[in-house]
Every structure is written in C-alpha cells, then in structure tokens.
C-alpha cells in the first residue's frame, strides 16, 4: 500500500480547509440571493413601507402592486409580456430548428465547401451583432420592417453558438449507421432529419431552446432601436422607460413589482430545470 493512513494533524487541516470553503460558498450564495430576496420582499410592500426603511418580512400589498403595474397607462406591461413572449418563443423555435438543420447538414454530408462553411461559422461565432447594427437598421427600414417583430425573429435562424452546440452534440451522439439504415428503408433526407435525427437531439434542443428564449427575452439593444410604438414594446424597453421616468413621482412598490415580472418567470423556469441547464453550460462551452 502506497497510501499512508492520515494522521491527526492532516485530518485537522482538511477539516479547517473544508470549513473555510463552506464559509466562502455561503457568503457568495448569500450575495447572489440577497438581491432577489430584497426584490421579492419589496414587491410585496407599499411605497410608504418601502420608504420607511428595509424589512426582512414581506408586506401584504403584493396583489395591489401587481394590479397597479398591470393597469398603469404609461407602461403597457400586459402587451409587453405578450410581445416578449411572442418574440422569444418564435426566436427560440427558429434558432433551435435551423441550427440543428445546419449542424446536421455539416455533420452528415460531404460536400466541397463543408470545411469552409464550418470554419466560417466558428469565426463569426463570437462576433457581436452590434457591429452591424447601423446597416441592419437601414436595411430593415428599406424593407419596411421598422417597428415590426420580423427583424427580431427571423435573424435567429443564423445562430452560430446554437449551431456549435448542436454540432458537438451530433458528433457525440448520432452514429451515421442510423441515417444509412433510414435511407435503405427509403426515407427521404428531410424525413430522416425530422423524424429520426431531431428526436435523438431532443436533450440538446431543449437546453438550447431555453438559452435562446432567455437571450431573446433579455435582449434590449436591437429591440430598442427597432420598435417605436408603445403597443410593440418588449419588457426590457419598458424597464428602460421606467428608469427614465421621473423617479421621485414613482410608486416604488410598482417599480419592484415590474422588475419582478421581468425577472422571476425566467428564474422559476431555471429552478425547475436547473440540473439540465447547468449540465448544458458545461457541455456547450460557449454562450452568447
């Protein structure tokens, strides 16, 4: 046996290290959770209670605050939620389906520009979309798509990071024998992709759908430049509007409630699926 039994002092050192680790971890977790805790508490309190000082106990005005936010004439929250949901869901669906399609196209077929196409996608993967925002805005106004959801949804068909994840997933989990067997059985190429490959990719699709949805839900820069009218605005734009409104006149209970409406749905979904998502981060390596 090469291992020597641990003596007393070594054990003590290990226990001390462990205690130190837990202390740091608890402090960091506290830092992460504290802000959300204050957010939740304050969204249940009235403006007057919030101004009076901080409390660890929730108030009783959650329903009042919620109703006040929904009925505020200046900040169309209901249509904001609807618009955000619509844009995010469509973007996520398009981005996941077409990224899987592209990844499969490069994984399963041999063609002349295959390597070049793959290299190009990797090269542009980390390029921020903001650098072409000027040309993008000019283009969509020429197309007559200003103040429309189309320029926020359709470009997600070309999502390099999602593609990269799908490609890695295919490399790891789709044997070509399955595809060849389907061909022998007379399946067409699109049929093979939709009915055989997509079901195999389900875990990857689910993880990336969540990431795409969240990215689109949180997106502020481009939507703020594209959408002008109140009925089209998404939640991040409404938050910005809230920030630029005259703050002193504002009901703070409403402000916290509005932030909670923007943040908490994502948090709830995350907590339900966290195992899935955390594993996805480690697998993908990249996230936009």
């Amino acid at each position: 046996m090469a291992h020597t039994p641990k003596n007393q002092s070594e054990k003590a050192i290990l226990t001390a290290r462990r205690a130190w680790c837990y202390l740091v971890l608890v402090l960091i977790s506290f830092l992460c959770l504290f802000f959300f805790y204050v957010l939740i508490i304050n969204s249940t309190r009235t403006h007057f209670e919030i101004q009076k000082g901080f409390s660890l106990m929730p108030g009783k005005s959650i329903i009042t605050n919620f109703r006040n936010v929904l009925t505020d004439a200046n900040i169309p929250v209901v249509s904001g939620i609807r618009n955000s949901l619509l844009v995010s869901a469509c973007s996520a669906a398009l981005s996941v389906y077409f990224s899987a399609l592209t990844a499969y196209g490069i994984y399963a077929y041999n063609f002349k520009f295959k390597k070049a196409a793959f290299a190009l996608i990797l090269l542009i993967m980390t390029m921020p979309t903001q650098v072409s925002a000027l040309g993008f805005l000019q283009l969509i106004s020429k197309m007559g798509l200003k103040n429309s959801f189309i320029p926020l949804i359709v470009p997600s068909i070309a999502a390099p990071t999602v593609f990269f994840f799908m490609k890695q997933y295919l490399d790891a989990s789709l044997p070509m024998e399955i595809v060849e067997a389907a061909r022998i059985d007379g399946a067409g190429e699109f049929y093979t992709f939709n009915k055989i490959v997509l079901p195999i990719m389900k875990p990857a699709l689910a993880v990336q759908a969540i990431f795409s949805f969240v990215a689109s839900w949180n997106n502020y820069f481009i939507p703020a430049l594209v959408l002008d009218t109140a009925d089209k605005k998404t939640l991040p734009i409404l938050i910005a509007q809230l920030r630029s409104a005259d703050f002193l006149k504002f009901d703070m209970g409403k402000v916290y409630m509005m932030v909670a409406i923007a943040i908490l749905p994502v948090i709830v979904v995350y907590l339900l699926l966290s195992k899935f998502i955390v594993r996805g981060v480690a697998l993908g390596g990249v996230k936009g």
Binding site: L25, C32, F35, Y109, T126, S132, G135, Q138, P151, L235
Partner: protein, 325 residues
C-alpha cells in the same frame, strides 16, 4: 470497405448538404453580412441629421475616423476597459477558486448542486431589469443605505450613483455576479478533464493542494483560461444594458461610465450615421482579432500543450504508474 461505401454514398447526397445549410447562410448574408458591408461603407461618409434636415451622404474619406480618435473614442474605450476589468478580475479569481474546490476529491464538498444552481442563476436574469433593481437598491434612500445606516457603519448615506467609482463599482459588481457562475462551471469542466493520475502522483510526492493547483491545474487548463478571457473581453466590448439602465443612458458623472456601445447607441438614436459607422468599424476590427484567437483555441487539435509540456506530461504519467505499483 465500410469507408468506401460511405464515401460513395455521401457523394450523391452532396446537394442535400447545401440545401440543409442554405437557410443559415442566406439569413446570415442578408441580416449580418450586407449590413456589415453597408456599415463600413457609411463610415466614410458625412451623413447626419441636423434638426429636420438630413446632411449627406457626402464622401469624406477618413474624416469620421480622425474625429473619432481625436475626440471621444479614447475616453469611451478606456471606460469600457476599466468597467470590464473591475468585473473580470474578481470573476476569474473567484471562479478558479470555486472550480478548484468543487473538483477537489479530498475536500468532497457537499451541496454542490445547490451552490452551482445558485451561482449560475444571475446569468439568466434580464440585465436591464437587474440594473434597474440595483438602481433602486443603491439609491440614496434605498435599502442598502438603510441597512448600512441602521447598523451604524455609516453616518450619512453613500451616494453610489452620483460618484464615478460608485457607478463603475456597481457595474463591475453586476457583471461579476452575472458571469462568475458561468465561468466556474466552464473551468470545472476543464479541470475535470485533467488526467487524475497526475494528482495521485503529486499527492504521493507530498504536494500540498496549493502546489497541485499552481503546478498542475493551472498550466493544464491554460487553453480554457485563454478562451474564457477572450470571450469575456468580447462580452465586455458589448457592455450596454447594465450601464445604460443604471445611469439612464447618461454614463454617470461626466460620462465616466459611457461604454463603446452606449456611444454607438447615442449616434444611432441621433441618426449620425457616419460616426456610428466609424465606431462600428473600430469595434468590428477589435472583435475580429479576438474572434480569430477564439477560432484557433476551438479548432486546435490537441489540448493546447507545447511539445515540451506534452513530454513532461508523459514522464509524469509514467512516474505515476510506477508509483501506483
């Protein structure tokens, strides 16, 4: 034989490859490539709105770039850099520490799933809403000041949002909170990829956990560290939502928290397309260099070791195998 049939089969299917990747490339060309080309094009023109009148586009050569470098760009570039560093330095230190602890087999920390879930959570929240929350929490009569006052740590409220470093510190803190969980998980994956026999050998040789971290873990995960740093840098250059909302688009006292993208955003809103183009092109060039680095770090065939390091690794493995017997 299998190889041959596969090749033969796939040749006749080649057109399907093009069909399957076509949507991606068409959309990319229309919504990214063409806009990028026109962005570069406009950067050489005088093209802005003055009142209700549109001036231009008149070709002015490099004038926009000269104006840019002579006036605002250095300031906003260094702002962006400073804000990024304030967030990144604590982020990489904490992430390395946590990743090393989570993967340490002797420590066997419990509740890892819980901690990982908690530290990753801030990454998913809406940056603009997070900034709005911080604005409310750190305002002069907000809860943070209230707590500090009631604990007797301060006598008068700290004006976080009206001071240069208060603002920058908050932006850095938010970026740190939003990204350190993500980085921790990526570094953990990298550390778990390190050959465990190396640690066993080191332990037999009487290495302390500290030595193992500095001499084994850190050199072996260097490629991932580079990747994390470059992608974070690109993310830093895109910094917009947080400082924009926190400072209401004004960039704090005397524009000391105005980032490159906030500057671009101002030009886009005021319809100064020539200058917006020039800012975009500068950003594009910087990002292009960084993208090439990312590309090579992703396509490298091996683990990114030098020849000498690989030799060392082999020798160490041999030694470990011998030691185990």
């Amino acid at each position: 034989m299998g190889e041959k049939t596969k090749k033969k089969g796939s040749i006749s299917y080649a057109k399907w490859g093009y069909i399957f990747i076509a949507p991606f490339f068409i959309i990319f060309a229309v919504f990214q490539l063409i806009p990028l080309a026109s962005t570069i094009y406009y950067s050489f023109f005088e093209y802005y709105r003055s009142g209700l009148k549109i001036i231009g586009p008149n070709f002015v050569g490099l004038k926009n770039y000269i104006t840019l470098f002579a006036t605002d760009l250095p300031k906003y570039f260094s702002n962006t850099l400073i804000l990024w560093i304030i967030g990144f330095v604590p982020q990489i230190i904490v992430s390395l520490l946590l990743a090393a602890w989570f993967t340490d087999l002797r420590l066997k920390l419990k509740g890892q799933t819980f901690f990982k879930t908690v530290i990753y959570m801030p990454n998913l929240i809406m940056a603009s809403a997070f900034a709005m929350l911080f604005f409310a929490l750190f305002s002069d009569n907000g809860p943070v000041n209230a707590v500090l006052l009631s604990m007797g740590w301060i006598k008068t409220p700290i004006s976080f949002l009206n001071t240069v470093w208060g603002n920058r510190g908050l932006v850095g803190l938010m970026n740190f909170l939003m990204w350190f969980g993500n980085t921790t998980i990526m570094l953990m994956a990298a550390i778990m990829g390190v050959d465990p026999t190396l640690y066993e050998a080191a332990e037999l040789d009487g290495c302390t956990p500290n030595q193992m971290f500095w001499k084994i873990t850190l050199p072996l995960i260097r490629p991932i560290l580079v990747y994390v740093m470059i992608t974070s840098m690109i993310g830093g250059l895109q910094m917009f939502d947080v400082p924009q909302i926190l400072t209401n688009g004004k960039g704090g006292p005397d524009r000391t928290s105005t980032t490159m993208i906030m500057y671009l955003n101002n030009h886009l809103f005021s319809k100064n397309y020539g200058m917006a183009g020039a800012v975009s092109v500068v950003l594009f060039l910087v990002c292009a260099v960084l993208c090439v680095v990312v590309y090579f770090s992703l396509t490298k065939e091996d683990d990114g070791l030098t020849k000498a390091q690989r030799k060392e690794l082999k020798a160490a493995k041999k030694a470990a195998a011998k030691g185990g017997k």
